[in-house]
Amino acid sequence: MGRRRTIILLLSFATTMPAIAVAQGRRDVTGTVRAERDSTPLEGVIVIERGTGTTVVTDAAGRFLIGDVSRLPTLITFTRIGVAPDSVLLAGDRDELTVYLRLAPISLPAITAEARPTARIRFEREAQPSIVSVDRETIARVPAPFESDVIRTVQLLPGTVALNDYTVGFNVRGGEPDQNLTQLDGTTIFNPSHLGGLFSTFDTDAVEEVDFITGAFPAEYGGRLSSVLDVSVRPGRRDRLGVRGHVSLLASRLLLEGPAGSRASWLVSARRTYADVLAGALTSEVFPYHFWDAVGKGSLRLGTGGTLSVTGYAGRDVLDWLWQAAKPGQEEIRLEGTWGNQVLGVRFDQPLGRRDRLTVDGGITGFSARFGLQPRIVEAENIARLLSARARLILVPHRAHEVRVGAGIEDYRMRYDAGSESFGSSFLRMRYAPQVWSAFAEDQWRAASWLFLRPGVRVEAVRGPDVVNIAPRLGVKAFLDRGLALTGSVGRYHQAIHSLRDQNLPWNIFDFWIGADSAIPVGRADHVVVGVEWWFGAAESLTLEAYRKTFTDIIDANLNEDPAVQGDEIVPVSGDAWGIDVLVRRHWGRVTGWIAYSLTKATRRNDRGEYPAVHDRRHTINVVVQAPGPFGSDLAARLGYGSPLPYTAFVGEWDHRTYRAATHSWDNFNREPIASDDLNSTRYPYYGRFDVSLRWEIQKWGGMLRPYVQVANMLNRRNVFLYFYDYTTAPATRSAISQLPLLPSVGLEFAF
C-alpha cells in the first residue's frame, strides 16, 4: 500500500510538473558584461546558465542573450581568461542584468563553448533582413576626422552612399537623406549633425548600440521611406560612480555615471568644441563658432519587474561674429546664428507574464534655428517640433508566434519666419502641422522549423492632407541549414514630412523640414528585398541582398517658388532604385571588421524626364579592419572606394545686373554660373580614402587611459567636392575643390 501511494504521489508530481513549469514560465535573459574598473564592455566572456548548461559568449559590446531560461532563480556563471570568474543568482522576476567583472590574470580549465554573437542569435530568431548592429567599441575604433562618429561609421555599411566628406547625411538604397529615420532611444532627431553636417550629434561614449535597418523594416516603424537608424543610449553604471572622457583636437567631452539607490542609475555626458576659446587665448583672431551637446539618461527598475527610463539630449551650434564694432552713431554689426536639437523621451517597459511585453514611449523633440544680421537688419527663424506617443505590445500566444501590435500619434509643427524689423518687412512665413495617427500589427510566425513568416500591416491616418494610408508588409526567412537562410521582404512605406533641399547642392547646413498638407503630398516607397544570410564560422557571416525600390511623391525644392504663397515650394518627383548589398563581417575575435559592397542604380523623374539621382553611385566598397597593431596598439583601418557620382555641369556664366531706377541704368552685377538643363549628366572622378588609427590602452591611476593617433585620408587623395568653372577666360577653365585632405589628429580617452 505504501509502495502504491508512493507511486501515485510520484505520478501526480510528474503530471503536475509541466503545469508548474508553465506557471513559472520561461524568459529570455539579456545582459551586459563590463569591466569593473572602467565599465568597458568585455567581449568573449563565457556565460553559462547552470540549470541547463546553455552557454553563450558576449559580443564586442559585452552583450549576451540566453534564450528560454526558467523563471526559477537561476545561477549564471561568467568566465574568461583575464577576468576573475563570477556567478550571479538571477531572480525569477528579472530578465536583464549587468555584470561587472574584475580583471585578473587567472588560469581557467579548458571549456568548450559555442560562441554565439548577438547577430547570430538575431539571425536564428528574427525574420528581419537588412539590419546591421554596430556597438560602441566598434564605433569608437573606426577612424574618422578628429574623433569617432556614429554616423560616419554607419556610412561605411552596405546600402549607404555618402555624397562627400563634409556631410553626415547619407543615402540608403537610392533614397534621400531625409528618408532616414534617426532615433535616440526611440525619439526622433530632426537634424542629427553639427557644423553643417561635419559631425553627428551622438556622443560615442554614451552610445550603447546602433541598429541600422536599410530596408523592408517592420511594421512598427513608420514615417520614413528608406532606413531606420536607432541609436540607444546606455544606462549608467549600477555599481559605482564612473567617469569617462575624451579630449580631441576638435572637442572635449566628459561623461559621469553611477547608481541612484539600489534600483536606479544615471548617466550624463557633455561635449564642447574649443577652437573659439583657443583662438581667442592664443591669437588675436576670433573664431566665431562652437558647438556643444549633452545627453543624459536615467533608468529606474520598477517593483513590477519593468523599467522606466528617461533620455534627454540638447545641442547647439553657435555662430557669433562681430562683423563691425560700434562707431559713433552706428551700432555694432553682428552676424548671429544658433541652431540645434532638443530631445526628451520617456520609455516604460513592462514584462507581462511569460514572454509578453508592453513598451510605451513618449517624447518631445525639437529643432530650432535662428539667424540674424543685427541690429535688426535681417532675421530668420525655423522651428520644427514633434510630440509623439506610442505603445507596443508583444504577445507570444504560442511558441511559433510573436505578435506585435501597437499604435501611436505624431504631432508635427514646423514654422519658418524671415523678415526685417529695420525695413518693416516680412520675407517669408510658412506653417506646417501634419498629424499622423498610426496603428500596426505584425506576427512573426515560425510556420515550420525552417521557415519564418512575418506578415504585418501599418495604417497611418495623416491630418493635413487628410489621407489614410495602408502599408502592408511581409517578411520571409527560410533556413536551408542552421547557418544558411534565404530571406525576402516586401513592404510599402509612407512619409509625411520632407526636407526642402535643392538636391544639386552638395552640402546642407541642416534640413529644412516641411510637412504634408493639402498641397504637399505624403511620400511613398515600395520595397522588395531578397537575399541570403550565411554564417560560415562561429563569428563570420555573409549577407547578400538584392532590392528594388520605387518612390512616389517624393519632392525636390521648387526654385521658382513664391515666398508669399504656401504650397508651391516643392515639385513632385518620383524615382526608382535597385541594387545589391553585400556584407562580409567578422563579429568578434582578435581581428574584426567588415567588407561592405553596394551596387546601386538610382534614378529620378520630374516633369522634364528621367535623370540619375545625385547619389547614383554604381559601386561602393568599404573595408573596415580592427586588429592588433604595432607597438602594442589596437589598429583600425578603413579603405573606401566609390565609383563616380553624377553632377550637373555648368554651361556658362552670365552677368545678373542690378537695375537702378533713379538713373534708369544697369549697375554692377553678380556673375553667376549657369547649370546645364541636363540634370546630373556628368560624373566626378571616383572617390577613394584610406584612414588609419592606432590606439593604446594604459592602466594608470586606477583607471584606463587610451591615447590614439589617427590619420584621415592617409594617401592624401584629392577627391572632388565640387567644380568651379571660369567662362570669363578664353578658353574656359574648370578647377576642383577637394574633399578632406590628409588630416592627422590625436586624442585621449580615459575612464575611471
Partner: protein, 405 residues
C-alpha cells in the same frame, strides 16, 4: 560656412574645357514714367574671347559680349489702338542717347504703356529669338515720410535726424509686386558714390536713419566679404531717395540668382534666352540729413573773407561721421556765397587732431559737368581762426576766416 569647407579642401586640377554654346541674355525694364526705353542684349560668357565693344552704356567690367544686329520689338498687347504699334528698338537712334553695341533704344514716347497693360518683347538675335512679357504696374502715389512729416513724391525736401528718425516710403494704390528703394547723394560731392539699394515684397518700407549700408558693400565686390559698412545716411549730407514699384517679373529677377555650388536658382521668365523683361515706375525726393550733436566739434561755423578776389561768406553745419584712432570723418552743409556764386552743397572732410580739412565742390554756373573743388584746411577751435585754401594740386591759393559763433 562654405568658406570654412573651402579652407579644409584645396583647389586643384585646373583644366581647359570646351567653349559652351552661348545663350542670349536680355535685360530690360520698361518705364512708363520716362520718355525713352532701352533694351540690353548680350550673350552668356561661354569661353569665347572678350569683345572690346567700346561700350559706354553697358556697365560692369570686361569682358562684355554684346549681341549686335538683333531685331528688338515691343508691342502693347493690351492697347489695340496704340499709335506706336509695334515699337522697333534700334542700336543707333542718332537723336541723342549714347550709342553702344548691344543697347537698343526706343523712339521717344514709345511704346505707349499704362498701368495694367501687357507689353510683349521679342528679340530676334542671330542665334535665336527671345520673348517675354511684362504687366505695367500702377501706383496712385509714392509717399515719403520722416517721423510725422511726409510728402507725395516728388516733393519738398524733408529733414532726417539719422540718430533718431526712420524714413518710410509707400506706394499707395499700387498694382505690382516689388518695392525698391534707392538712396544716393545727389550733389556734386557724393554723386559718384554708389548708393544704397533694397527691395521688399511689399508696398511699404522703412529705413532706420542709423542703418549700416550692408548691401552696397556686397554689391561692389561679390568675391570678398567686406569688413566695413558705411552708414546709409550720414549727417551733414543731402540724399535723394528714389522709390520704385516693379512688376512680378522684376520681383522674380531681383530676388533670385544662380548660386555658385549648383548654378541654379535664378527665376527666368524669358523664353529662348535668359534675363528679364520687366516694368517699373518711380519717383524721387530729397532728404537733408542731420544728426544729434554729441561731439564738441559738431555745430555751426562761418567761413568768410576774400577768396581769389571774390568775397565769400558761407555757413557750415558740421557733423562728425565716423571716428577712429587717427582721424575723424566729417560732413557739412555749405550754404551762402562762394567763389562762383550761391552755394547749397554738402562737403566731406576729416579732423586730424584739432585741424579740419574740407573739400568744397561747386558746380560752375553755365558750364556743363564742371565742378570747382577747393580744399579748406586749418586748425579749428573756439573763436576766430585762419584756414588755408588750396587748389587741387594742394597749392595754397588763399586764406579765410573760420569762425565758430
Amino acid at each position: 560656412m562654405l568658406a570654412g569647407i573651402a579652407a579644409l579642401g584645396c583647389e586643384f586640377g585646373e583644366v581647359t574645357i570646351p567653349n559652351a554654346d552661348p545663350i542670349v541674355v536680355v535685360q530690360a525694364v520698361m518705364r512708363p514714367d520716362l520718355p525713352r526705353q532701352w533694351v540690353l542684349v548680350e550673350q552668356t560668357l561661354s569661353g569665347a574671347a572678350a569683345v572690346d565693344s567700346g561700350a559706354v552704356v553697358i556697365p560692369g567690367d570686361a569682358p562684355q559680349l554684346p549681341v549686335v544686329g538683333a531685331t528688338v520689338t515691343v508691342r502693347n498687347r493690351s492697347d489695340a489702338g496704340d499709335p506706336c504699334g509695334t515699337t522697333v528698338f534700334v542700336e543707333r537712334p542718332g537723336d541723342g542717347p549714347p550709342e553702344s553695341p548691344g543697347v537698343y533704344w526706343s523712339p521717344v514716347g514709345c511704346p505707349s504703356m499704362g498701368a495694367g497693360d501687357t507689353l510683349e518683347l521679342r528679340v530676334a538675335a542671330p542665334s535665336g529669338a527671345v520673348t517675354g512679357t511684362t504687366v505695367i504696374p500702377g501706383v496712385g502715389a509714392f509717399v515719403l515720410g520722416v517721423g510725422r512729416d511726409s510728402v507725395v513724391m516728388p516733393g519738398r525736401r524733408l529733414e532726417l535726424n539719422r540718430d533718431v528718425d526712420t524714413v518710410f516710403a509707400e506706394a499707395v494704390g499700387a498694382t505690382g509686386r516689388a518695392l525698391q528703394i534707392e538712396v544716393r547723394r545727389p550733389d556734386v560731392t557724393g554723386a559718384s558714390a554708389p548708393g544704397f539699394w533694397f527691395v521688399v515684397d511689399s508696398t511699404a518700407i522703412t529705413v532706420p536713419g542709423n542703418l549700416p549700408d550692408f548691401f552696397t558693400a556686397f554689391q561692389e565686390d561679390t568675391s570678398t566679404i567686406p569688413e566695413e559698412f558705411p552708414p546709409v545716411f550720414a549727417a551733414g549730407r543731402y540724399y535723394a531717395v528714389t522709390v520704385a514699384h516693379g512688376d512680378e517679373r522684376y520681383f522674380d529677377f531681383v530676388r533670385s540668382g544662380n548660386i555658385p555650388p549648383s548654378g541654379r536658382g535664378f527665376i527666368n521668365r524669358l523664353e529662348g534666352g535668359l534675363g528679364v523683361f520687366a516694368s517699373m515706375i518711380a519717383a524721387t525726393s530729397d532728404l537733408r540729413v542731420v544728426g544729434s550733436i554729441d561731439d564738441a566739434r559738431e555745430g555751426t561755423y562761418r567761413l568768410s573773407g576774400t577768396l581769389l578776389g571774390t568775397p565769400v561768406d558761407a555757413s557750415l553745419e558740421l557733423y562728425v561721421a565716423t571716428a577712429d584712432a587717427d582721424s575723424t570723418e566729417a560732413s557739412t552743409f555749405v550754404s551762402g556765397s562762394w567763389l562762383h556764386g550761391a552755394i547749397d552743397e554738402s562737403a566731406d572732410g576729416a579732423f586730424v587732431g584739432d585741424s579740419l580739412a574740407l573739400v568744397i565742390r561747386q558746380v560752375l554756373p553755365g558750364i556743363a559737368d564742371s565742378v570747382a573743388a577747393l580744399l579748406v584746411a586749418g586748425p579749428v577751435g573756439p573763436g576766430i581762426g585762419r584756414v588755408g585754401v588750396y587748389d587741387p594740386s594742394l597749392q595754397l591759393v588763399d586764406s579765410l576766416t573760420l569762425e565758430r559763433p
